[in-house]
Symmetry: C2
Subunit: 333 residues, 2 copies
């Protein structure tokens, strides 16, 4: 496209990078020139971009010359080092790492929720953590309906959240099992096949993991509710691609199940799947490959007058990462 | 054993029945004579009891003649029909089905919690649902420490909870995947391999499942707290044998993390596994084959002054079913 942008995808060989390349094509994002970057280890590899093959280049100080849009999904260290260089070169950086999310000067954006905040960027727009995005999508319309007071969230997180190595671990461990071999844990702290690991990211003071702290801080920033009470538990499960979250949400004003369902239904990016009598509710297998987050099991919390329970599943690589990043780029295009 | 009891295991070919036979031996339960019953379909099969083989008999009106102890794990219908006949024959019935749990005349017993209640039986003692047992084990010492006010529980339930067919479904579906075949769902409403199904037992009014309602009613009965506020979510996960539950528990009086840990630690049947800095926390793979329920990830809930979060894993077939039943029998022996 003659009028398209010169784009860099940083972390192009990773799980999110691969999905980014696929979605740029699927969404007909105007691309004039596409360059793919990754670690020196991956340099020289080829990645697919539609029918084309693009040779992966190693990141360097001069990588961003002429680049107008840089989509980073290479990890926090790489973002900290190279995103400022990309900005200096004149690029808009959309960063999917944890590097800048809580920087007060950097907007943290889910377009359906706080798209306007993206416009205040000074070169970098941060994309929230995958679990945050899938959790906050239904929280926003519920907050608008009744003002959130307290959120208790328990996540069931897919291995793709740990990147291609996470996916390979579940795959290889499951194949070892199928061959009747003793399973040796790959990548994760413990075996993930047929197991659950209540440990994502590093443990911090107070017994919470980094993943849990991110969920709290990022939801507060996105919703502009710095004191919102949130109690998080995050768990890795043997599922490949979509994250699911069991949410208990209390509001200042009562929101009936019918009103919550209507609010979810109207909200762009959410799809209500809630017909239990016909065995219809969100499941990670159904959320995989979908742009929308699926929300269901919407029911009154019988233990608290102003609370509801619900269950949401969203593709961790799409809305949880690559799609959200491209949506930010579309918004600012 | 000359002084042992004449015992009937009803549902002997099922997952819980098989574990019951194994544990009767392992625990040296005094057995003089053991008879194995199952549906007509399974009659004539052999089951192992230590080094012996026992021929499975079909259930009939005269099955319980001379039986002193009948351990039922054959499903609610069978229990409703045959448990009263067993009682009439003079047997003590320990029933693992849902048939009598909420009957005010039948004690619902977890020996470590309300063993004394078992003594008031009129022939039948009910064993709680597996998820209830694993959840209520840490709730009891916490209640004793600070008086429970509200419990929010999200379960991650193994396929063994659905019996041998549930186990076969995860196994067969995972093997189809390993062979590169299209997976056709077995037994569960949907594919369970690499998926999550937020649907256990039938849906009821209000959008809760039978499994969720059981969790509420049974915890209230066991703890003798008929009004305890409990908010349940139950989810089937691709794990073979142990259930895990993420629990948020609020108490009237503040219970510090240290006090909760000490209370859990002292409680028979619980083992604290909570050393996150060394990657030690409860996981279903570690709980499998253990008599104790494992509790960890104990941390203050930053969203509520008097609440803590924790995570518990317990072998669904042992403490969740067969072991709890045998413990009741030992108590009354």
């Amino acid at each position: 496209m003659a009028n398209g942008k010169k784009i860099a995808v940083v972390g192009a060989t990773g799980a999110v990078g691969q999905t980014t390349l696929k979605l740029l094509k699927q969404r007909n994002f105007p691309v004039r020139d596409l360059r793919a970057f990754a670690s020196a280890r991956s340099a020289g590899k080829k990645v697919k971009f539609g029918d084309d093959e693009v040779t992966v280049e190693p990141l360097g100080a001069d990588s961003f010359k002429g680049i107008e849009l840089a989509l980073f999904s290479a990890g926090s260290e790489q973002s900290r080092e190279f995103a400022p260089l990309a900005v200096k070169s004149g690029a808009l950086v959309i960063d999917k790492s944890n590097a800048f999310r809580m920087d007060p000067a950097v907007p943290l954006v889910v377009p359906e929720i706080n798209g306007a905040a993206a416009r205040s960027h000074r070169g970098i727009v941060a994309c929230p953590n995958c679990t945050t995005i899938v959790t906050v999508m239904p929280l926003k319309p519920l907050h608008d309906a009744g003002k959130l007071r307290r959120v208790i969230a328990t996540s069931f997180q897919a291995v793709s959240g740990a990147g291609v190595n996470g996916v390979a671990a579940l795959r290889e461990e499951s194949l070892m099992w199928a061959r009747g071999e003793k399973i040796t844990a790959r990548h994760f702290q413990h075996q993930i096949a047929f197991n659950l690991i209540p440990h994502i990211d590093k443990f911090t003071e107070g017994g919470y993991t980094g993943e849990e702290i991110k969920l709290v801080n990022e939801i507060r920033k996105i919703l502009e509710l710095p004191d919102l009470a949130i109690s998080p538990t995050t768990v890795r499960v043997p599922v490949f691609t979509a994250h699911s979250i069991s949410v208990n949400a209390e509001t200042e004003r009562k929101v009936s199940v019918a009103a919550a369902r209507a609010a979810f239904d109207r909200f762009a990016g959410l799809r209500v799947v809630d017909d239990p009598m016909h065995n219809r509710y969100p499941m990670p297998l159904d959320a995989e490959g979908q742009d929308d987050c699926l929300v269901g099991r919407i029911r009154e919390d019988l233990s608290c007058p102003n609370a509801i329970n619900f269950w949401v599943s969203g593709d961790q690589l799409r809305k949880g990462a690559a799609l959200n990043g491209i949506q930010i780029a579309e918004l600012l295009n």
